[in-house]
Amino acid sequence: MSTGSEREHHLHAQMVAYQAGRVEAFDALYAALAPEVRAYLVAACRDASRADDLVQETFLRLHRARATYQPGLPVRPWVRGIARRVYLMDRRAAARRGRREDAVVAEARSVPAGSLGRGGERPGLERALAGVPASARQPFLLHHLFGFTFAEIAARLGIEVGAAKVRSSRARVRLRALLGGGADGR
């Protein structure tokens, strides 16, 4: 088992090779750092699927900022700094999305009775929607309420098409549970 200083020495060597343009150094750094970055992001955002997206974003930003690493300094605080910034920017974007969703919900409230179900069900639906994680709620609403395709939603939110489908599906399952319909969707 390697000690902390050996590990840091290895990371430093990989980082220098990465800056010099060796592709395999990126893979080595990813293998060495991704679990740690993911653990940090899961703890920060408490949403494993969101954390997985942010790990990719962190490594993309890390790649673009690789020149800012100063050889001789520890690698992990540098990576942690980038991951933290990615998380904070995502949180800010999520807050903006939340405000837009509020507008969507307000718009949904103006939909004539019967469009979202029986008139008496709508307040319950809105409450249930509020219980769905923000990252899943938006793809769900954009698809089921406004009729966007998943490709359009993916482009709009800057995520993969598959991720948009998965999140929308998660939102649907969660909504069913919250509305007391059970797993079969009734």
């Binding site: 893979d27 997985d52 993309l60 020149a67 800012t68 100063q70 605080p77 700094g81 933290r84 910034r85």
Partner: protein
């Protein structure tokens, strides 16, 4: 079941990384980068000091002290610039207590310089010309701080700051302090209300502009 820890980069990420692949030159140390800006800072401070021509207090016996303290202020400004460039590097952010200590040190240096100059050759703003003197001594150091402010902010923005507003504020503060190190020699007034209300306000404004500049540059880059 918890997802297994990632060990290989996903194809999409790898493709994006390879599309932007190129060897890079590592960023130099903050002191080295600050030293690149130092000649420009020296020139602008020199222009600031001589803008109004020789001042009455230059012939006073204590002028050596005033000039020496200006040199100390200029050196402190350069150290601030290095701190701003250090703050801009991920993982090297300055702790709040250290940041407060730095700000307190800047205020102490400015206050000591003001008191020293006042003891060497006290001078007040001529009656009825307060606003004109204020405008000149607010605008002058601020404009002369411009080149260092812009360059320092760009250097800070390029380093991927994790707190862009802080990094920019420090870079702007440094530019203001560097510029004022010269301007205070060219302005013979030692009245506290003038120095604080015009010179120090210009330094504060430079700091605010630096924060805005780096924040905007960072936001633009983040959208890419």
């Amino acid at each position: 079941m918890a997802a297994s820890p990632p060990t290989a980069a996903p194809d999409r990420l790898r493709a994006q990384v390879l599309a932007e692949w190129a060897p890079v030159t590592p960023l130099r140390s903050p002191w080295r980068r600050a030293a690149w800006i130092a000649p420009l800072a020296a020139v602008t401070a020199g222009i600031a000091a001589t803008y109004w021509g020789p001042q009455p207090d230059w012939a006073a016996p204590g002028f050596v002290l005033t000039a020496t303290l200006s040199a100390v202020q200029w050196t402190a400004g350069l150290a601030l610039l290095a701190l701003a460039l250090r703050e801009a590097v991920p993982g090297r952010t300055t702790r709040p207590a250290a940041m407060l200590a730095v700000l307190a040190a800047v205020v102490v240096i400015l206050a000591v310089n003001l008191a020293a100059k006042d003891s060497v050759a006290a001078a007040v703003v001529p009656a009825g010309r307060e606003w004109r003197f204020w405008a000149l001594c607010f605008r002058g150091p601020l404009m002369l701080a411009g080149p260092v402010l812009v360059l320092g902010s760009l250097f800070a923005a390029r380093a991927f700051p994790t707190r862009p507003a802080w990094a920019g504020a420090l870079a702007g503060l440094a530019a203001g302090v560097l510029s004022d190190a010269g301007w205070r020699l060219g302005c013979s007034v030692t009245e506290a209300s003038h120095v604080v209300g015009a010179h120090w306000l210009a330094i504060g404004m430079a700091s605010g502009l630096g924060a805005a500049l780096v924040s905007v540059a960072d936001a633009v880059r983040w959208r890419r």
